[in-house]
Symmetry: C2
Subunit: 290 residues, 2 copies
């Protein structure tokens, strides 16, 4: 496609919390945004706030070939099905990107079946909300967050450049590139494992009235236990090997700590705590973005 | 002691982050507060901000017998040692309380050795900070938080009443009573287990540069991994049986979830996620206090 500028026509497919946040950020800055999404009420909502110039609940040739850049913000398997069913509607030279939370299998599959005159460059905006739906969309979540592009040897430098520019326009603080495999290993630890922990911590103890005594540390640790079960179970299954490896590493470390406690090894526990404290310092948000 | 009023003389022993927060809240409301603490610089700091009217680095008869109410904000073993060494200095009828994060063993030990003409009523202010030291003290952390009194059959209704009033003055949103054993089981799950998880998550994976890609969920989950290793290892050892039981229950639930993922049991995972989401709703902070 042509270089990204204010004439670039952007189609968002799937106007949920992330697709909606993209629409808000892009429209606010004067870009032309249309959408295809399932529910007319979501289109009406987005139109009323000026998030899009037009929307359709149907996948029409007119809407699809209008776009220079198509952003897919769908559940992974629906994204793949969409490509199979509708890719004949793309205009030659269209660039497509996504927001999917796992990469290796999706990138492989979509790039494998995609028309040769259309390019797919994958990206992962690492920002989200616990609630689903366009009415929870909010492009402020991108501020200070990471945007990761995962190109393969099938991608052109021009497409990577457009995707980079998209991340900038959306307001991300840090835009980087990883291979799909590196991305998935990283996300297995930093995001998927943390969700597994929060969810199972929440279901490990059903003592009544516990909520009456909770402090903020438990709340913080389980904030992400309010989870979109359909999306996350799909993401976990798509990244199964990498996530199982991280779950094992965590379970082993947790068990080592448990053994120290059982054996009353105070010095061993203090050593783990000191290492945890030092390593956690690295993960503090840069001051300017707090 | 007499009913709590503006003439009540309060001595804080240990002017750290919690002792300092007590001093701030009480002085601000016109109560008379003195302290005994190790470092003269902490006394100077507190005097300069009007948090105390007087402080001493020595445990003197004059300072101890001045007090109607003594609040111990020390590491547990230092608290017990202090009582053994200095309890002869208390004036007859003095009421003492504490801020210790575990109760059964401490309450048992202190009430077991204490002079019969002095009363110890235990309490746990469930609010804290990751940083230690009086310069991080801040009584705003009490707003919206829980204050738990853990009386035993050795306590008088008058002492429980004074302790209740102290919690109110400090600004806690909810003041409740539990037995020391109930408190320790609750705290093992809600606080100690979460710290074990955060710490071991932080040390389970030492891949370089991970911090460059982190999102807020990982940050939230590991906020408490910055930990006072001396204090927390002591608290863990003092509540060893209860904490081991909670660690086992969590490890079992985590392992069940891992098995579902390994066996590609999407429906099983979605069921856990839905139950986690529903249960987590109960733990949301009351809107008024957010």
């Amino acid at each position: 496609m042509k270089p990204f500028d204010k004439n670039t026509k952007i189609l968002i497919v799937g106007l949920g919390v992330i697709g909606g946040s993209y629409a808000r950020a892009l429209s606010r800055q004067g870009y032309r945004v249309r959408c295809i999404t399932k529910e007319q009420k979501d289109i009406d909502y987005a139109l009323s706030l000026g998030m899009i110039e037009k929307g359709s609940t149907e996948v029409t040739k007119e809407t699809v070939e209008w776009a220079d850049l198509v952003v897919f913000a769908l559940y992974p398997h629906i994204f793949v099905e969409w490509i199979k069913q509708y890719q004949h509607l793309f205009r030659r030279g269209t660039l497509i990107t996504d927001v999917t939370g796992v990469k290796s299998r999706i990138v492989d599959e979509v790039q494998g079946i995609l028309r040769p005159d259309v390019e797919f460059i994958a990206a992962h905006p690492m920002a989200g909300r616990e609630s689903s739906g366009v009415e929870y969309s909010d492009d402020r979540v991108f501020v200070g967050a990471n945007y990761i592009i995962t190109p393969t040897e099938r991608n052109t430098p021009e497409a990577i450049e457009v995707c980079h520019r998209l991340g900038e326009i959306l307001g991300f603080a840090r835009i980087t590139q990883l291979s799909p495999e590196e991305h998935d290993r990283m996300i297995a630890f930093l995001s998927q494992l943390t969700h597994c922990i929060a969810v199972t911590l929440m279901t490990a103890n059903d003592t009544p009235m516990l909520e009456q005594y909770t402090g903020d540390s438990f709340r913080d640790l389980t904030r992400i236990a309010k989870i979109n079960d359909v999306m996350w179970s799909e993401l976990f299954l798509l990244n199964r090997e990498a996530l199982l490896a991280e779950m094992d590493a965590f379970a082993d470390e947790f068990d080592r700590f448990r053994t120290m406690l059982r054996e009353e090894d105070g010095e061993g526990m203090r050593d783990v705590m000191r290492r945890a404290t030092a390593r956690r310092m690295l993960f503090d948000k840069p001051k300017a973005n707090q």
